[in-house]
């Protein structure tokens, strides 16, 4: 039942806003729907935490601790982002970058995007998961090109082509999975249901599954933004409206990684952990290192943080690749803190760019003077994302690194070097933007900074103290991932 | 030995050094005059100079801080203390354990720092010049001195001067190459620290070359007298250190009154020789250019370190 609500609310919101998205109160409606979704997801979470996994609608939907925590996270960040986008899009409108029609598109697509992500998380049918993933691409591609500038069109085009092609590979992988499954489960719908596959995963044909995993990894990995499949990501993040960058970084990447991990679990059943694990660790490490070196060359602030997202997705992929309770725990925790921190950063970045009138980092100076809250938000957020204690990102990185040190000690030097370079690059850029003399000016609407500091507060709290129920929850999920 | 006697010895030695120091200066000057076949002044001349200076009325530069006026007393006190530490007449004195060779070097450093500060207090160009040169000499001479003493300390396994002198004095005679190195280094340090040729020339006020005189240029009367006296004690102390380290024979045990006359006799003899030697060196050598002074002293430093190493390599 909760599942229906969780999925139904954003869908309804999408329809409503498709009709009324151009009204003045559309942003409020957007926020309200997102909040309702969030509330429903809380209900769902409590239910699952209370009495275990749920199967709904003749097993088409499946909720276990792993995805319910992502559902809650997605709904929460979706809500806060909606709050942030209220003043942000108003200001954009007054700067004349978007007109009402596009605002309407924006709002309804925003809800639809939330819907597709939740669908992808909740669906038990691997094929439906794929469909939802593609739907997520389709619903965001027009948002990336919302401003209709040449750059945004180019970014959207690349995003569309690369992700569609990647997703196509994933479909092939899914077909192979089905191909392997139907020999065990027989033809028909049930052989695409993840739960069923999970039961018989030990009997599935190894060679087929290895091929299938390659296709799935390349496919979903494109959306995760693994190097060298990442090229759409910085463009899309830089050129789309900031709320979209926030949800892309904070949520979509997570969802894609979720899909990878789900398939990994199946494949591990047949092939053992080493095969998928080594692949994921390789991709993760490559992403971390390459992204770290890219960071130092950025001029556009959103681009830079997009690369930082690639780096962190690399860390998570590495963590899940290593496997084991601690690493998986760390990976989940890193998912949480990264999406919270990164979206908070994008909130501040959005307002900072609006104040300075440019996304070029050389043009943004001395935010501390014009608005201390934005300044502190940006500097604390960056420090958090760079893995500075006492923020939670450090916690997960600590666990990942320490696990890596005695399980794959060869990898740790790369990770650490990459972290050091990333620190130099990002903080060297952020500091002059925050401190010193300013160039920015006041804004017509007061920026929405509650989301920023709410996120940062949660991240800080997670750095100091992980509540027992949350830990238990993560542990269950980690156990599922294995 | 009973402490009363020891303390008496201590006091006696200190007073003896303070009183005898100007005599040594006079003796050195006299020898030098002989060697340069000038008509020699009286050996007692330094005493008369001091007396004269004490009687005069001091002229103090305007803008002098209290530091300027207290420094002469501090200098005098430091040197007097040094005279108390060095076993001049006897070993095992009660004050000896309170300060070993490192502390001794520390005392000299304290004096140097204060005199340099006082020199900079007035704010004339000469004061700064003197202070700078003095510290330049110091930063090389001090470690060289320390290394020399360490060589002896390694041989005797102690940094207490009295212990060193006991061990060196009561051993059967043996040649220590390390000590030879140390002796040369010590001699060079002695010349430098006491503002002697070839580093400095106490007899001139030539601003291109003067070091010590430039520092005390502003002093007059009783302050000057105290400084001159302190300088004399310093020379005396250095010479006695040298004697204690390299030719310690004949020194008395603390509280042993019978050995005292012999100790005094040998000491006077050694000092007479040393003073003559100093005068000879000062006559034979020419004053170095100031910028060569660091090289002179760094070679002293290296010699001292070499001595220490040879101790490990030979006696090793």
């Amino acid at each position: 039942m909760e599942v229906a609500i969780v999925l139904g609310l954003p869908l309804a919101g999408a329809l409503l806003l498709a009709l009324a998205g151009h009204r003045d109160w559309a942003p409020e409606l957007n926020a309200t729907m997102s909040f309702a979704t969030f509330f429903a997801s809380i209900l769902l979470t409590t239910r699952v935490v209370a009495d275990g996994p749920i199967l709904a609608f003749d097993e088409q939907f499946f909720v276990d601790p792993f995805n319910v925590f992502l559902v809650a996270l997605t709904a929460f960040v979706g809500f806060t982002t909606a709050l942030f986008s209220r003043p942000y899009m108003r200001i954009e409108q007054e700067h004349g970058r978007v007109n009402v029609a596009r605002l309407r598109l924006y709002h309804s697509m925003y809800q639809l995007f939330t819907f597709t992500m939740l669908l992808c998380l909740l669906s038990n049918n691997v094929g439906a998961m794929w469909v939802a993933m593609e739907g997520a691409t389709l619903s965001t591609v027009l948002l990336v090109s919302l401003y209709r500038t040449p750059a945004s069109l180019e970014a959207a085009w690349k995003y569309f082509i690369l992700c569609s092609v990647g997703i196509a590979q994933a479909l092939f992988g899914t077909i192979l999975l089905y191909f392997a499954a139907e020999k065990v489960l027989g033809p028909g719908g049930s052989s695409l249901l993840w739960t069923h596959l999970h039961e018989v995963r030990a009997q599935l044909e190894p060679t087929v599954l290895s091929l299938a995993f390659v296709f799935l990894l390349v496919g979903f990995g494109t959306k995760v933004g693994l190097v060298p499949l990442h090229n759409w990501l910085p463009d899309a993040h830089a050129e789309g409206p900031t709320p979209i960058s926030a949800v892309l970084s904070g949520l979509l990447l997570n969802v894609a990684l979720y899909a990878v991990v789900r398939s990994k679990v199946l494949v591990d059943g047949a092939l053992g952990r080493d095969f998928s694990g080594s692949l994921m660790m390789g991709f993760g490490l490559l992403s971390v290192v390459v992204a770290a070196f890219f960071l130092s060359r950025q001029k556009d602030i959103k681009r830079m943080f997009a690369y930082s997202s690639i780096e962190h997705m690399g860390i998570m992929t590495f963590a899940f690749g290593m496997g084991g309770p601690v690493a998986a725990f760390a990976g989940l925790l890193h998912m949480t803190v990264h999406s919270l921190t990164k979206s908070a950063i994008f909130f501040t970045v959005g307002h900072a760019a609006q104040k300075a009138g440019t996304q070029n980092m050389d043009g943004i100076r001395g935010l501390m003077q014009v608005s201390p809250t934005i300044g502190w938000g940006l500097v604390l957020g960056s420090l958090a994302i760079l893995g500075m204690p006492p923020f939670g990102v450090f916690t997960s990185e600590f666990m990942v690194l320490t696990t890596a040190m005695h399980e794959h000690s060869w990898a740790t030097p790369f990770l650490l070097i990459a972290l050091g370079i990333a620190f130099a690059a990002i903080f060297g850029r952020v500091q002059p933007m925050v401190f010193g003399e300013t160039t920015a000016q006041r804004l017509p609407h007061p920026p929405a900074l509650i989301p920023v500091f709410a996120h940062l507060a949660i991240v800080l709290a997670l750095g100091l103290y992980i509540p027992p129920y949350l830990a238990a929850w993560y542990r269950q999920a980690a156990a599922l991932i294995g | 030995m009973n402490t009363a006697a020891a303390i008496a010895f201590q006091i006696l030695q200190s007073v003896f050094v303070v009183l005898a120091a100007p005599l040594l200066v006079g003796w050195v000057n006299r020898c030098r005059a002989w060697l340069q076949n000038r008509s020699a002044p009286s050996v007692l001349l330094p005493y008369w100079t001091l007396a004269k200076l004490f009687h005069k009325e001091p002229v103090i530069a305007r803008g002098a801080s209290p530091l300027f006026r207290t420094t002469p007393y501090i200098l005098f006190g430091c040197m007097w203390l040094a005279a108390g530490i060095v076993p001049v007449l006897a070993t095992g004195l009660p004050f000896a354990p309170a300060a070993d060779i490192i502390a001794l070097v520390g005392v000299f450093a304290l004096a140097r720092v204060f005199s340099a500060l006082a020199a900079m207090d007035i704010g004339t160009s000469f004061g700064g010049l003197g202070a700078r040169r003095e510290m330049m000499i110091g930063f090389l001479a001090e470690p060289a001195m320390l290394m020399t003493l360490f060589t002896a300390a390694f041989i005797s396994g102690s940094t207490q001067l009295t212990t060193i002198v006991d061990t060196l004095g009561h051993r059967e005679f043996a040649l220590y190459p390390s000590l030879a190195f140390a002796a040369v280094a010590f001699l060079m340090v002695l010349l430098a620290e006491n503002a002697r040729i070839p580093i400095d020339n106490p007899a001139t006020h030539l601003e291109l070359t003067m070091i010590h005189e430039a520092m005390i240029l502003e002093y007059s009367a009783r302050h000057l007298a105290l400084i001159e006296w302190a300088v004399a004690i310093k020379l005396f102390a250095y010479m006695t250190i040298g004697i204690a380290l390299f030719v310690p024979w004949g020194i008395a045990e603390g509280g042993d009154w019978h050995a005292l006359p012999l100790a005094i006799g040998t000491l006077v003899a050694k000092l007479a020789l040393a003073g003559a030697g100093l005068a000879l060196i000062e006559t034979l050598l020419a004053k170095l250019r100031l910028l060569l002074a660091p090289e002179f002293l760094s070679s002293a430093f290296l010699l001292a370190v070499l001595g220490m190493l040879t101790h490990f390599l030979v006696q090793g």
Binding site: K158, Q169, V214, L217, F293, M368, P389, P390, F394, L401, L416, G420, F423, F427, G428, F435, G436, E437, I466, P468 | F54, E57, V59, S65, G77, W80, G84, P97, A98, A99, D100, I102, A103, A109, L110, V113, A116, L117, D121, G123, T124, S125, G127, G128, A131, M135, F139, P143, F154, T159, Q160, T163, R222, L226, P294, F301, V305, M308, L309, G316
Partner: protein, 677 residues
């Protein structure tokens, strides 16, 4: 009841006080009239907490190690806290020094604007608390947490005046090097862990490493913590960041923060790794000697007072490392007593340096605060304008110059004594090496004396120079009351540590024996009472600063009174003798740069100098001299260039052609398929 008991135990007490600091930090942010609050309430209370911490530490040294576990942190790794002798000693250091600095700060920040002061107060107390937690931490996670929080809070304090670009770059450099060091430390913990158990220090102690890994761990710890301590060649941030910070913060950073790095080294090397090897000691000694000489030689070239003091911090870290290295060599060869002596010398110098360097930075702060000057070449004659500050500064200067009977001398004396133990070593080479390090120490000591003659003579003595850029506060008076109390507290510390070393020797002996299992020899302990300091045995070496002081004061006074009684006390005042030059302007005095000239002449090759000589025709001839650190050109810039090069090559991945991007995906796919087949 048990909670009360826990709170009364040293661990609980220290924890409570650290939390109190945090509470003050939060309270500072409460907006209502927070300037007055911070000035009148926050800083004094912080000072009181500091004294409390010092007492807790002093008490805990003599107690067995106490542990405490908080239900925070990672789910399977809660915060472990532990107060053993070592931590207790450093708590004592932290508390006592920070107390003085906090009192001073209450006066120093009196004219700060409200908002800024709130931030400063918050960050300042977070800084103190994080240092306390670094000392209390007993697991890797909490340690790293506190360690990085310390770096972060101090970074924000450093860039308080972030309007100046130089200060921003200094802050960035500082945080970057600190972070890299932290990464090395983290890696070190990972190596120590060895794959079993959790990351509590007990588990790390228990883990057995084979030689190779132990050496790796040592190197990581040494350079990781060294980055924070400012050892060669990772010192570059220190002379930039310490001057940039407000003076009380500089005092804390130089006095206490870099000591936490020493704490980390000792903790990891002697406690966590356990089996110390003499080769490691040699590494420490070589680096330490290099750091010592480098620090003092560059300090002699400075004319910015706080920068000069920062370079002296580098030097003193080197001296501490010399003692530490000697201790490691002796322990490595199995000479427990001598090793303890070296360790004790190092720790004692750590404490001493904390006290007198704190004092000196506070003095520099008072000068800056009341006259607005920080360039020595603009000062002069300050002793007339601020006599009290001049007095305290003189004490600090004498102490750092290692002159008896103050505290700097004692620790260097102990280090020398440790070096003189070399005779007991079997290995001939090492035995003949130790005296060389002693020689380095001697040289450094003399150079320090020269440097502080320069500082004191140029800044406080002589006549006021007409500054090149006139001071913003021309007619400033002496330091205010609170500032003076702060300085007096630390100056008293200089005397206390200098005059009663043997009592501290016993404390440190306890620390060393708890760490290495060996203390000083029995005869040493029996011979050294409150009056006599005897490190090994009475006939080998002894020192009694109190007798020393009494004697020197006695003879000086004696001389004074005799002279005054026998002769008249008259004095006449006149212009200084002008040597025949009609006018003597104050510009004829030696400047700080001029004073360093002999050093430039002797050690020329060490520096990277850029001289600009005035041409013959210039109306206002000016001779300028720029001295730079060669390490920039040897180490830092090349590394930066290398990273730049690599990233420029990697950037070729992204040339914007969608076909190429598709090709990447295609090739990846094919490659993986091939890999699978």
């Amino acid at each position: 009841m048990s909670a009360l008991h826990a709170a009364l135990s040293p661990a609980g007490g220290a924890l409570a006080l650290a939390v109190l600091w945090l509470a003050i930090a939060v309270a500072c942010l409460i907006p209502s009239r927070n300037a007055a609050f911070a000035r009148r309430f926050a800083f004094p209370l912080g000072a009181a907490a500091g004294i409390g911490v010092a007492f807790v530490g002093l008490q805990a040294v003599w107690l067995p190690a106490q542990t405490l576990t908080l239900p925070l942190g990672l789910p399977d790794l809660p915060f472990h806290l532990r107060v053993d002798a070592l931590a207790a000693f450093f708590l004592m250091l932290l508390g006592s020094v920070s107390a003085g600095v906090s009192v001073y700060a209450a006066g120093y920040f009196r004219e700060e604007a409200s908002g800024r002061l709130a931030l400063i107060g918050c960050q300042y107390h977070v800084f103190l608390a994080s240092m306390a937690f670094v000392l209390l931490a007993d697991d890797a996670y909490l340690f790293m947490l506190a360690w990085e929080t310390m770096a972060l809070s101090s970074y924000f304090l450093v860039i308080t005046d972030h309007k100046q670009p130089s200060i921003r770059s200094a802050g960035f450099l500082y945080l970057l090097i600190a972070h890299l060091g932290a990464i090395a430390v983290l890696l070190c913990f990972g190596v120590l862990h060895g794959g079993r158990g959790d990351y509590s220090f007990d588990a790390l102690r228990a883990a057995h490493l084979q030689r190779g890994w132990a050496t790796v761990a040592f190197l990581l710890a040494f350079f990781g913590f060294g980055a924070k301590a400012g050892i060669l060649p990772l010192h570059a941030w220190l002379p930039e960041a310490h001057p940039a910070a407000p003076s009380p913060v500089s005092a804390l950073m130089s006095g206490v923060m870099i000591k936490t790095a020493i704490y980390g080294m000792v903790r990891v090397i002697f406690d966590l790794i356990g089996s110390v090897r003499w080769e490691w000691g040699l590494v420490v000694l070589v680096i330490g000697a290099g750091t010592t000489l480098f620090g003092v030689l560059y300090a002699l070239m400075q004319h910015d007072l706080k920068r000069l003091l920062a370079y002296h911090s580098v030097e003193n870290i080197g001296i501490i490392l010399l003692g530490l290295g000697m201790g490691m060599v002796f322990v490595g060869f199995g000479h427990g007593a001598a090793g303890a002596l070296g360790l004790i010398a190092a720790l004692y110098h750590t404490l001493n340096h904390a006290v007198f360097k704190g004092l000196l930075f506070l003095g520099a702060g008072s000068i800056l605060h009341s006259s607005g000057l920080r360039n020595l070449n603009d000062m002069g004659g300050l002793i007339h304008r601020m006599p009290k500050t001049a007095f305290y500064f003189l004490i600090g200067a004498l102490a750092i110059s290692a002159l008896p009977p103050l505290n700097g001398f004692v620790s260097e004396w102990l280090t020398f004594q440790a070096a003189l133990q070399a005779t007991i070593l079997q290995n001939g080479i090492v035995r003949s090496l130790l005296p060389l390090f002693a020689a380095t120490l001697a040289l450094a000591g003399a150079l320090t004396a020269m440097c502080f003659v320069k500082v004191y003579g140029v800044a406080f003595l002589g006549r006021a120079r007409e500054p090149a850029h006139p001071s913003p506060l021309p007619h400033a008076g002496d330091a205010g009351g609170m500032e003076r109390y702060g300085m007096a507290w630390l100056a008293a510390g200089c005397f206390l540590l200098g005059l009663f070393p043997s009592s501290f020797l016993l404390v440190l002996n306890r620390v060393a024996s708890r760490l290495t299992g060996h203390g000083l020899s029995e005869q040493a302990l029996s011979a050294s009472g409150w009056l006599w300091l005897v490190p090994t045995s009475a006939e080998q070496a002894s020192y009694s600063p109190l007798v020393f002081l009494v004697m020197i004061v006695a003879v000086t006074l004696l001389a004074f009174f005799v002279v005054r009684r026998v002769y008249h006390g008259r004095a006449r005042f006149a212009d200084p003798w002008d040597c025949g030059y009609p006018e003597q302007t104050s510009r004829m005095q030696d400047t700080a740069d001029a004073f360093g000239q002999p050093i430039r002449h002797v050690f020329g090759p060490l520096y990277r100098m850029e001289r600009t000589l005035p041409g013959p025709g210039e109306a206002t001839p000016r001779y300028t001299l720029k001295i730079e650190d060669r390490h920039w050109y040897w180490l830092y810039l090349p590394v930066a260039r290398a990273a730049e090069y690599v990233s420029s090559k990697i950037a070729l991945l992204q040339q914007g052609r969608i076909s190429i991007y598709l090709l990447y995906s295609f090739i990846t796919l094919i490659a993986l398929l091939v890999f699978v087949r």
